[in-house]
Amino acid sequence: MIDDFLLRALVGGIGVALVAGPFGSFVVWRRLAYFGDTLSHSALLGVALGFILNINLTLGIFIICQTLAILLFVSQYQRQLTSDTLLGILSHGSLSLGLVALAYMDDVRIDLVGYLFGDILAISATDLYWIYGAGGVALLGLMWIWKPLLSITIHEDLARVEGLPVDRTNWLFLGLIALTVAIMMKVVGMLLVTALLIIPAATARRFASTPEMMAILAIVIGCFSVIGGLLGSYYYDTPSGPSIVVSGCLLFLLSIIVPRK
């Protein structure tokens, strides 16, 4: 018999892999890995916000990620700082601010390691609702903007001249990424969110000849990473988030070794 907590972990992990595959593909194509890091590093600030406002912590994380995404989007119009410097400031600034804010709250004791590296075995039924509810919204949204987003990924100005709603699509995409990051937190933790976004997608690349195929393969590979990591964590008592990432890396290595047909 499977324990309840293990079953919840499995269902939650697969839910996250479903969302991470397609979004991770875009993160790889558009070179947004550092951007993803920045969003996820702000999550602790979201946790603090959740405690202050006494709301669901995932909602708090989502609000902060969303705010940061908007801030980053607006700041791309300034020319003072290069974007990776700006990302670095916001990324580490928000991480540190989150830690300081949480330390300030005397009555709050959180499992910091759980937030940093994820705690999939502690996923609750509420977490599952979040993962599948918000994850479903994120996936539907992505399907809606899929085609224009592909065009924008190829060449933004070309898409604009052809009359595509470039700004609206970019805004929506950022919002959906923020949502994805917020629900992935629980499974792999803020420091490893980007890993679960990009490793399955990078693994899928060699076997895909269309963007859609790559996204679907990334989902499948993500699911295997989650299952592998979960089993390792269950039987050998290793930390769950890192175990998932390790099994993802092993699959990636395997994909490089396997000769291409």
Binding site: K147, I154, L158, V161, L164, R205, A208, P211
Partner: protein
């Protein structure tokens, strides 16, 4: 006279401290080929971006004819090798109702062999032809090309220019393009604008090539049809040209340029 497809009126563009474009007037008539030449940083790309509506000018107006459909061929397009996209799919992404088979379209630009190739494996010339095909999908009556021969060898360059002329004759399509080298485009352009923030001179290629302002920008060699100019030297002044008929004008341009060195 035909109604202009595109009409830029007294365009000024200032970004931050830099004046990129100064009082530009530009008219593009149906089936006309207009080439913009100028040194690096002269504002050529900025001017195209204004014409395409991608950049709002600081002042001035951009008027488009009602029936205009613009096809845009960007300067370069970077496809990340992680992005699995074939030529066929890339063409299918164009927003259009036009149903000409992609094979025919690629044949028109001389690139039918690449139809199933992944984008990131294309050579510079193939990519330019593909971008042209993509622009033509929408049946444009204006084609805007930003340095269409960049990264293509000399032989490929003249082929591309003759393709551009053919597009104009066969499709009756007006063309606005940017070029580094006037000599290669000379035979396939009706009108040239010599740009260095402002329009230094304009007219038929023959007129522009012998214009003192053109010599000023591109050096004596370019002016004497040797086409040997090194681009980095384009700001060097050549005072040997004062024997020219328009010497008074030349001095005026000279001052103009001195005050406006870009970058």
């Amino acid at each position: 006279m035909n109604k202009a497809l595109l009409n830029l009126n007294a365009i000024n563009l200032v970004l931050g401290e830099r004046t990129l474009l100064e009082n530009i007037n530009l008219q593009l008539n149906p089936a006309e080929i207009v080439t913009i030449v100028g040194p690096n940083g002269a504002g050529k790309t900025s001017l195209l971006r204004v014409a395409l509506g991608l950049q709002k000018p600081t002042s001035g107006t951009v008027q488009l004819a009602d029936n205009i459909t613009i096809g845009y061929v960007p300067q370069k397009i970077h496809i990340d090798p992680t992005f699995p996209m074939t030529v066929r799919r890339f063409l299918a992404l164009a927003k259009t109702t036009h149903k000409k088979p992609f094979e025919e379209l690629l044949a028109e630009v001389g690139a039918e062999h690449i139809i199933d190739a992944p984008l990131h494996t294309l050579s510079g010339g193939e990519l330019q032809r593909l971008l042209m095909a993509r622009a033509l999908i929408r049946n444009p009556n204006v084609l805007v090309l930003d340095e269409p021969v960049q990264g293509v060898d000399v032989h490929g360059q003249s082929e591309l220019y003759s393709l551009i002329s053919r597009v104009r004759t066969e499709r009756n399509c007006a063309i606005l393009m940017v070029s580094h080298d006037l000599h290669l485009v000379m035979s396939s352009t009706d009108r040239v604008l010599c740009l260095n923030q402002h329009i230094c001179c304009s007219g038929t290629p023959e007129v522009v090539v012998s214009h003192p302002a053109y010599a000023q920008l591109f050096g004596k060699h370019a002016a004497s049809h040797l086409a040997l100019y090194v681009h980095e030297k384009s700001h060097e002044h050549n005072h040997a040209l004062t024997e020219h008929d328009h010497s008074h004008q030349h001095n005026q341009f000279c001052e103009h340029l001195e005050g406006k060195k870009s970058d």
